[in-house]
Point group: C2
Chain length 451, copies 2
């Protein structure tokens, strides 16, 4: 691959050392990389991205967008080599409009960068998938996370995008208006397209006012039913919960061990409520009443920010806590999402399936959305374990689809769930492929992902 | 056009009388129909729609989807004849899932039908564009309306669609899960595509819990600045207003005349707040405090449902009240949407423009979204008046785009705003056309709209 033309432009920002290529060959998933990119480029602006894509398109070279590398279904793997574009240097917050509560950022800005920048403005960016993902990456996978139940996923935050198309052309989708009915919604076509339709170079994001009061709590229940029914009832009466996370007893045990805490080792909800001081108090009380009718064991609340931070640090460390349960093993993570009325049944069937296997797999979930994750612990060298985990995952997805849910609530298809997509979406995958071909006829953008 | 094959299947549900064809030749806009459809068919289910589309595609006959006929940019006009498909008989509410707060409806169900059906469930469907539009039509134009500021537009309510594609194939987009990252977001590609990509035959909708308490009020201000600044400040401190409608003094005068009311003839907000009884009271108080700092004249609230209904009936009759200002004239309605920080400036410039003309044009707006409408009153036979109105509209859109807004917040492009779409979206219109061609190569679906 002759990259001399690009090397003249990018100099040392075009890397071909094996170490850097290897570092860009994988994400945080269990998927084993089968090859390395031929080069990694660190552009700084839209024009530079356009130059790379035009060159790649003219020479039919694969292009792989790379953000923070925190994807979970192999989205950044360089399956056929090619050029990986790392957004690390595209990390500028270009505008913050306080009156309109919005901002414009480059794709390499991470969610923590943005919230740090906003800390004195009274505004914040709510989407929180746990990892400190890049905002470009979050757009590409349609990310969500702990407080989707109140604020929505990244899809509800993006008002418009600047995208470099596969032939190097730059388009703008959306506007800074809060809504528009002007033509096809290319913004939402790009969101969740996992880098297969173009490279996102700028994002117009909605921001939200920091709540006056925040309170968070831990509620443990005698059984899973009680925890999930509490959430269903709370949502039905319209309690504006901001975060509702479910952790099963295996995950709580893992956290107790990892963080040296002493939570009841029972199905548990981590909750957060935002609002006015009085409103929050009123809502905690209502939530407690519902919990009591649903086999509550313990109800423990705090409005101290350090206590609240500790709680969410426990939640965000669920993955590492799980790994710590079986030192030496790796984590095969997967997620599905079902209508909330089927959530208890779906989780209980899944738990029985795990218990009948040789695999340890804690469950954590964004239960207000009907979305949950398995963290299947395994030795990737042990083929039998890998197969067993894959079969559990197969049955998990079948179960979610049978219950009218989806094969992935937030991790995306990547390379891991391509077959499931066909089962789930049937002939609408054909329409997706037609769109892909019409926009990227040379199939340079992240080939081998989704399809 | 030989429709005998379809006539055998649809019998009297295929109409070719001039009266019915004429009735289907136009919507509620000022656009004058240039031709009639050749036939109007009233299918009852998805399979029948599929038969019609396959036939039309094989014979390259235009197909025009028709709901309640309440569109405002000529979306249902049969520009080149063809077959109009009326969704009147596709009016079944197929599922209501109380626990999941969702439902499945056919496209001909209107928003009032649905809310009537839901009245004893504690749930409701929030999108309210004023007219009793069909839900299929609302999906097609990306409708919104008075309470978007709290609940979002129709785009945020739809979880999935069943769509008959131009070749008669039936696809499903989305699922009943609250979120998904499985493949391209075809749901949002279809929403707002104005019938140009397929015919929507089934819609999975989110529903919302009816609020415990509702209170509504009328607040008049010395000037427009005061009204808009009140809204900006209320949103910034996170007051969860459900409806925030702005009516200028011309519109208030029209309502006073039409409904025999005696509102202050000043820039006025109609507000509604949903929540717990205490929460609503707290919020009214906060809203009043902000209003007072912004040149409030009068602040009048009620929690009596009949008073509230009367208020919204005044708002929903804005169009007829405006017509009543100049008996014999017709209304040329248009809408734009801008970032809220530019709203005052945009409306004031627009008012100066109207005042310098011979046209009377009240302004009403969904001010929480930055969206407002002009109702330009004119005699469609008077070319000079029509031209003057068109020029006001041209300058309105230019102004909105200069302020980083959009040429239409909720009415869509139809036949009226095609040139504005090119100005607004630039080369992304090319991407839209590519998608259109890849999905509908014979251009049978609502040809001449959007592009």
């Amino acid at each position: 691959m002759d990259l001399s033309k690009l090397r003249k432009i990018f100099g040392e920002r075009l890397a071909t050392s094996e170490a850097i290529r290897r570092q860009h060959s994988h994400d945080e998933s269990w998927h084993v990389p089968i090859s390395l990119p031929d080069a990694v480029i660190f552009p700084e602006n839209t024009k530079e991205v356009s130059i790379i894509l035009k060159f790649a398109n003219d020479n039919k070279i694969p292009v792989i967008p790379f953000g923070a590398g925190t994807s979970l279904e192999g989205q950044v793997h360089a399956l056929n080599g090619g050029i990986t574009i790392n957004s690390l240097n595209m990390n500028k917050i270009k505008e913050v409009n306080l009156e309109d509560m919005d901002c414009k950022v480059q794709p390499g800005v991470t969610r923590e960068d943005l919230n740090l920048f906003l800390r004195d403005t009274g505004l914040f960016f709510p989407v929180d998938p746990g990892a400190n993902a890049s905002i470009g990456g979050m757009c590409s996978t349609g990310a969500s996370g702990t407080n989707t139940v109140k604020y929505g996923t990244i899809r509800q935050q993006v008002m418009g995008l600047e995208v470099v198309m596969p032939n190097g052309e730059i388009i703008k989708t959306g506007s800074r208006a809060r809504k528009s009915s002007a033509g096809y919604d290319l913004t939402h076509l790009m969101l969740g397209s996992e880098g297969t339709l173009g490279y996102i170079t700028e994002i117009d994001l909605k921001l939200h006012g920091r709540p006056e009061a925040i309170s968070a709590g831990v509620c443990s229940f005698k059984n899973l039913n009680g925890a999930v029914n509490t959430v269903i009832e709370a949502i039905q009466i319209g309690l504006p919960l901001s975060r509702i996370e479910l952790l099963d007893e295996v995950q709580i045990k893992a956290i107790n061990k990892y963080k040296n805490t002493n939570h009841n080792e029972k199905p548990t909800l981590f909750i957060e409520i935002h609002g006015s001081p009085f409103g929050v108090k009123e809502q905690i009380q209502q939530f407690q009443e519902i919990s009591k009718e649903n086999d509550l064991i313990e109800f423990d609340w705090s409005d101290q920010q350090d206590e609240i931070d500790k709680l969410w640090s426990s939640r965000h460390n669920a993955y590492y806590a799980a790994l710590n349960l079986c030192p030496g093993k790796k984590a095969f993570t997967t997620d599905v999402c079902v209508p909330i009325s089927s959530l208890t049944e779906c989780i209980l069937e899944t738990k029985r399936d795990i218990e009948a296997s040789n695999i340890i797999a804690p469950i954590v979930g964004h239960v207000g959305d009907g979305n949950f994750h398995l963290i299947l612990l395994l030795n990737p060298e042990d083929k039998e374990e890998v197969n067993e985990a894959k079969e559990i995952n197969d049955r998990l997805v079948e179960r979610a689809l049978r219950m009218k849910g989806t094969s992935t609530g937030e991790h995306g298809i990547g390379i891991g769930k391509k077959n499931f997509l066909k089962t789930e979406k049937g002939n609408s995958v054909k329409i997706m492929s037609q769109i892909k071909r019409s926009i990227d006829p040379n199939n340079i953008m992240n080939p081998g992902k989704i399809f």
